[in-house]
């Protein structure tokens, strides 16, 4: 499926094309949402609202090739709105005693790694490493400066290396 073509059709009012687009990015949307709101029910709410908003506003999409970035931006706004409403209460605080985290890396799930980062790094890491957004695109989506994105990525890299790759700070490239 060509995202640009489908997005162009969706822009012209093609509902089926819009549904195809959502099916293509639903996993991406869930991963981004989960990096901001911490439980599945909130992810579901945020994604539902995002889909509705995207459908009714898709005529405002300027560049069909950037559909994914565009809808991620809507989703992030939706998640942030939800957090503001809930005053950032963590319903399930991460706690060693209540999770199944082990250092055996094959058992680490994606969010066990992401959740270990400072909150301000989690979405940036998701967008950069998983969604392949550029620094410039992330800056635009999160409405922060490119310098801020770079410095946060710098901070995230060190900790991620330890968590995900089992590297210490002195590890060089390939082991």
């Amino acid at each position: 499926m060509n995202i640009s073509e489908k997005a162009q059709l969706a822009k012209q009012g093609d509902k089926e094309a819009f549904v195809c687009l959502i099916r293509a990015v639903e996993r991406n949307l869930f991963i981004v949402a989960r990096s901001i709101v911490k439980n599945e029910a909130d992810c579901a709410d945020a994604m539902q609202e995002t889909i509705a908003k995207a459908f009714s506003n898709i005529h405002t999409l300027k560049e069909p090739a950037y559909f994914k970035t565009w809808i991620i931006r809507i989703l992030i706004n939706e998640c942030n709105r939800m957090i503001r409403k809930k005053k950032r209460v963590h319903p399930v605080p991460y706690d060693m005693r209540n999770t199944t985290y082990t250092s055996e890396y094959e058992q680490i799930e994606l969010f066990e790694v992401i959740d270990e980062l400072d909150e301000q790094l989690q979405t940036i890491v998701t967008l950069y490493y998983i969604e392949d957004l550029s620094v410039k695109e992330i800056a635009k989506v999160l409405e922060v400066s490119e310098g801020t994105v770079k410095s946060r990525l710098y901070r995230a890299r060190q900790k991620l290396s330890e968590l995900a790759l089992g590297e210490g700070e002195a590890k060089y490239g390939s082991s």
Partner: protein, 493 residues
Amino acid sequence: MDHHERVDRDLKQFLKTKSQNMAIPDIVQHAVDNALSSLPESNVKQRTTLKRWRWTAAIMALIVLLGTVSFFTVPTFAQMVRSLFAKDYTDIGLLRAQELGLVYDPHIKVKDEGYKLVINEAVADPTRVTMALQLFDKKGEHDRNKLVFVDPNNITIKDDHGNVVGSMYDMGLTNDFYYMVAFFSKPLQTDKITIEGNIRTLGYQKEPLIEGNWDFSFDMDMKEANRQTQIEKLSGSYTTPHGMTITLKRLTRMVQGVRFELETELDDTAMARSPGDLWEKQMLSFHFETMEGQEIYSVNPRKEGYKDSLMTSEHQVIGNGKMRWSYTFKYLPEHESYRFVLDAYSVAEKDGSRISFKPSELTEPKTFDILKDRVELVGTSLEASLSGDSTYETVITLYGELENEATYEEWNAYDPAGKSYEISLRGGYSFVNTLPDNWREGLISMGDRYTQQPIEFRVQGLEQIPEELTLVREVVDKRYKDPDWSVLLNEQE
């Protein structure tokens, strides 16, 4: 490719693989299905109001869980080490430090601006320093988010000559304290270290920064930890079918970790394939297993779901074609025999494989096979340069499946006149076709076919799509998975 780029590539591989393996939870999938089936037929500037939903049961479950969580008190560092161990967290080195009485209480309490920084527990040996740091607010509650270790905040480690030998970072893992660690790729050789904290700001996200002074400094005696260090000489040597000789050197057991050292040497034929400094770009893949064939730890495997315990690793050139490697693991068996198995290795070599195509004829994907690797060109376009300088560059989108490694490969593009252009790569890699019981099989996937996200070869400076384009892989990160060697270690009488 510099260090950060390599780390980024590895992180992308790891995180993308994890994201691909993750199923969307049912309640989220239902919400998406519900949203899509509730869409009106026309989307012309209509605002659809979807009824929001919530499962009462989910709320109830959360309330119960919150109540349960609040029963717990904050554990001590030692208790947490125990709890980690009880949960199969295999940081046996940290546990051993505790058992040997090497958990040190520096009695650090620094108060300013209503916040109190406390350090009661720290462990140091030649492999690493581990420390629990807590920050209490005016109400006496530990704030896990207020302290961020970025400039001007830092914690450094100095040896007994005052040289900075490392800096600590927050490893995460627990909300109970800031879990500060520093790893040393070469065992520290000092009788005393000094931990110096420069903490001048507190603040989190968009909160206003609180400026103050929570600096601290304390010494840690390393003599007992040094006394616990034992060196075992290793023996065993093997030459691979393609000319790499591997020689095991020694094992250094320290309180919190084990350092494993070996040397490699390439023969003349192998060196001829990797002229200049290409031969220095190598990677080893190996694993340790029990006598029953159970995996202990693996390094750089293609195995699906492997056990990792690596804290640091490094390699350095010690002669022409010769390299010395060292790896520090959290643990290797002390009292049982186990086996070292060499699985594969890679060396950057000159390649020259060419892919020529006419962009205008790329109306459907075109596949090329080069040295056991497969590249599928998907499309060509002209796009604004990522450098943001208002120029354009040719972008080739493609998928690929590599038998070889990707870390050190280099590509260039050539126009019909033979002019060369550098290629920068954008996109993600992941492992595919890996197996849970095989360390050697599996491929590196360039791009993500599942989400239909090919990678991009961005040809810098090529401002018009030429009639014909040639891509040349100048350097291949050649992977050899044909070693057939294992060594029995810690042989018991």
